[in-house]
Symmetry: C2
Subunit: 414 residues, 2 copies
């Protein structure tokens, strides 16, 4: 078995090659990677079957579904890679250009970051997406999937490496750790000098472990306690359809709403409508109500942690507050900084909310479910950053780049 | 004594206020801060005198000089603050704007980061510069100066707080830790949820401690093992004056050159000229020569670590290599990623070097001493980042901002 350190050494050796690849070479390789996934589908599907059998009974049904591959899902993965090929090259863009009084010409240009490690869980498409996005942005990837998805991920990486070999490019553009224990994750977190950026994609536990232990630069992703604030000047029909959509269209994802704040003057008229709407759907939503809301409609009394929990389920915490200012204060205390939306026809309340809520995506009269690279027009994404350093919100190709300054002169001294 | 945690709590409470200040309010406060430094000069200078007396014999002469204040230096500090007032507001810039096919209008706008902690050493002007830059970028500062500079820093912060009070703004825009032991630095590094960004400014030891221990997002600054590569097609006169400038104009700063790589075909003709130039100056430079260079001119034989040392002194390591490719390889192995320069009249060699050297600032026919916020036209700077995440090279006001997305719609659901 190759150690994680050996793999990191190979990755580091490949940095200069990856950073210098031309757009044409990268796009040709991306298309070859998509083809290779299809060519290798038998092996990938059979390894995936082995993963699924080993995982049965050990992980939830939802996780098993995330892990499962099919011809259709493989085709979707290949298509996603082909889309990355179509996207403009994020490397080598001139971000600014200036000539100084002393004649120095200073260019700021985008460059690759280097070796980017991803720690993730069970979705095999993350393997292909991450490899494609990191190649296009001139980076070398080191992938560390969850144990239960390792065979599938390895088969996918082997297919991608085949494509690289056929294009006479180093296989070590794509790397996967062989150790699937906690040790390899810890090694990546501590790999100062090898890993230029670590992106953990997963639950709150993984993110917390990275915050605690990572010595390499890290981007936190994905925890979303998203709020909807229904202002006194809300259009009720808009509000109801946005709440229903944000809560029930896909409750397991990070941009789903978890908390609904209702402005006091409309609470008595709006809450019964909300209850009716959320109970009438295919999946009835459990409402966790603060004391005041519980005095108006029936529901579960909200517990101590219900306003600080990412339910990822058909559950919505409901609290009555007094106006947009109190709404932003509640959000400042309880939000994870992912996505929040105000529903109102009052432009002043909307602008107050947009200005004062400090989250990656702040919406007016829109469902929080739109926080997504594709919906933002960024192409596919590498996760949604909930931190403020480097990248915030959906991370597309540009967020996977750094920059450097090029300074041309003719003998200037200082 | 206020604990560091108490100070952090106050800072966090001030975040929303700082982030929302108008440009006019910030500029008025900045000018008042400059005035207040002058008004309080007696107290600041007497506290500085106390610092100097306590430090005598415990720190080097160079450090004592860095610590010392005078009327002149105080005036310079005040002027630097007034310059920050003149600079455009970095907060609220529209970074991109797009309308999606479904009618969503998406704006990406710059916002403050939040609470920014700075751990630094003995230069009192860092106190004023950091406070001014962080105020202008909508952030709240928590300053943690070196023990030997604490009285001066405290007197400066008191003067800045006076200015805030007079403008009816919270004093807690500006914060200084009261504990000057290692404990307060460790507390800042671990203050998850309080400190949004930590910037260590200081020697390699401080940076290493932050990499090792910091749990909050961190930007590494300042260590510079900067290289000059003298190509076979170099103009010798340009090369000599650039080497002399980069090495001797201010050897104690991070953009000073530490290593000179000489292309083999010109080694025999160039080295004697280099030796003559560097020995004839006011401060003769000690040359640490690799074996091959030592066969051509006299000097100290280079030791094992001489190509991996930030001398910050009148010492230059010299190595003979073979061509621009080998130069970039040497730099990839030994550089801290700060600043490197190629001296050549060959445009192909220059472009190869500019493309392949992965450092914050890469120069052609220019002294590395220009890596500086002022020289780059960024105004004053918060240090020079040697990492790739978020900010690289000189960090001006824009590097002290994050961004968020504002999305306006009319009921869109997904």
């Amino acid at each position: 078995m190759k150690t994680t350190v050996d793999i990191l050494k190979e990755a580091r050796m490949t940095k200069a090659c990856a950073a210098g690849l031309s757009t044409e070479t990268k796009n040709a390789l991306l298309n070859a990677m998509a083809d290779s996934l299809i060519d290798c589908s038998d092996r990938i599907l059979s390894e995936n079957k082995a993963d699924l059998e080993a995982a049965k009974g050990k992980i939830t049904e939802v996780m098993l579904d995330r892990l499962a591959l099919s011809e259709k899902r493989l085709n979707d993965m290949a298509d996603a890679i082909r889309e990355v090929a179509v996207h403009p090259d994020p490397v080598g863009r001139i971000l600014s250009e200036t000539e100084r009084p002393n004649g120095l010409r200073i260019q700021k240009i985008s460059v690759a970051i280097g070796v980017v490690a991803i720690i993730y869980e069970s979705r095999p498409n993350v393997t292909a997406d991450a490899a494609a996005l990191l190649l296009k942005s001139g980076n070398v990837c080191v992938l560390r999937p969850g144990k239960e998805a390792w065979r599938s991920a390895k088969a996918i990486v082997d297919a991608l490496r085949d494509a690289a070999k056929k294009q006479n490019l180093p296989e070590t553009l794509f790397n996967i750790t062989e150790d699937t224990t906690r040790k390899s994750a810890q090694e990546l977190m501590g790999a100062v000098g090898y890993v230029d950026l670590l992106i953990p994609r997963g639950g709150a536990g993984l993110i917390a472990a990275c915050v605690e232990d990572a010595k390499v630069p890290c981007i936190e992703t994905g925890t979303g306690i998203c709020h909807l604030y229904i202002d006194r000047a809300a259009d009720f029909e808009k509000a109801l359809s946005i709440i229903e959509n944000a809560k029930t269209s896909r409750p397991s994802v990070c941009n789903a709403a978890e908390v609904c704040l209702i402005d006091r003057p409309i609470a008595k008229s709006f809450l019964p409508l909300l209850q009716k709407r959320l109970l009438s759907g295919k999946h009835p939503v459990e409402l966790r109500l603060d004391t005041e809301a519980a005095g108006i409609i029936d529901g579960t009394p909200a517990g101590e942690n219900d306003f600080d929990t990412e339910f990822l389920d058909y559950i919505l915490a409901v609290r009555i507050i007094d106006g947009v200012k109190e709404a932003t204060e509640h959000i400042a205390r309880h939000s994870t900084g992912h996505s929040e939306s105000i529903i109102t026809e009052d432009p002043l309340a909307a602008e107050y909310f947009l200005k004062n809520v400090d989250s990656a995506a702040v919406y007016h009269n829109v469902s929080t479910r739109f926080t997504d690279g594709g919906e933002f027009g960024l192409g596919c994404e590498m996760g949604i950053s909930t931190q403020k350093l480097h990248a915030r919100g959906p991370m597309g190709l540009e967020a996977l780049c750094s920059y450097k300054y090029l300074i041309r002169g003719n003998g200037q001294i200082r």
